[in-house]
Point group: C2
């Protein structure tokens, strides 16, 4: 990674293979994924970083929302019918196209650089930029209020193509 | 954001001011922050994206770990004494220097582009690259096992300067 005055450059650490080849029909969050499985393939130079990961139930995947259109400051989220500020949504059309998902670990193999995961809501061949362990002390706030999402949280419908190229 | 073959370029959307001016002594996760407060200042062109955020208790902040040294594939985490694979830790010295924290919202003001937050574990003047709403259905997995972290989880000591420039 390099940092200039106002530009930050990242390099993918790997790619994920999943059953979801188009935005339309992809679950819009892990909770709605129906347990879909995927496999992360980490590039050779980063594989040693996977050591000790297999004792964790879940990981955060930070990934590139690389099939999003240009960003907008207001979007109609998948689960809603009203425009919302983009930072109050998980919509992909954000200023920096980074997606964030907590997925379940099925198996880790450092030597081949593969991490099999479950509860995936990520498109096939998406580039991965980071993996972090899920730690409830830092990450789990079960009773957090969720604003506009309160009214629509039971809908659980899959994504459509509104944010696609 | 622009995507070339293997390079991804991001632009900060704002900056955060916090009480923590050096890595040494900064809480190493929000859970250990003792309720420290900070203020995110969003740049003018992104402020409209803050609309609807104030109904949420918490947000994810994605930020630049811009005072980290070069990355390593094995690190000794703040809470441990043994080397671990970097992807099994939240250490800042990662291939892509992106930090992730769930912080509590104290107040949002779209017109001035400020978001006051609590439970902050982020260094002063850190560049912010995304804000996402915290949604328990997607983000809260209270009983997740945490591998090596199980043995050290009660330590809660602050960060030191081992990852600083």
């Amino acid at each position: 990674m390099s940092v200039n005055t106002n530009k930050i450059t990242f390099q993918p650490i790997g790619i994920i293979r999943t059953p979801f080849t188009s935005q339309q029909g992809t679950p819009c969050q892990p909770a709605f994924s129906g347990g879909a499985e995927g496999t992360i393939h980490i590039y050779p130079e980063f594989r040693e970083g996977l050591v000790d990961l297999d004792g964790f139930d879940r990981i955060w995947i930070l990934f590139l929302l690389d099939r999003s259109k240009d960003y907008k400051m207001k979007v109609i989220p998948y689960l809603d019918t009203v425009e919302r500020g983009v930072f109050a949504t998980r919509a992909p059309s954000r200023p920096n196209f980074i997606g964030l998902s907590a997925v379940r670990i099925v198996g880790v193999d450092e030597s081949s650089g593969t991490v099999r995961v479950k509860d995936v809501d990520i498109l096939d061949e998406t580039q991965i930029i980071d993996i972090k362990p899920y730690i409830p002390e830092n990450d789990s706030y079960r009773d957090s209020r969720t604003g506009w999402f309160e009214q629509v949280r039971d809908k659980g419908k899959p994504a459509d193509d509104r944010f696609s190229i």
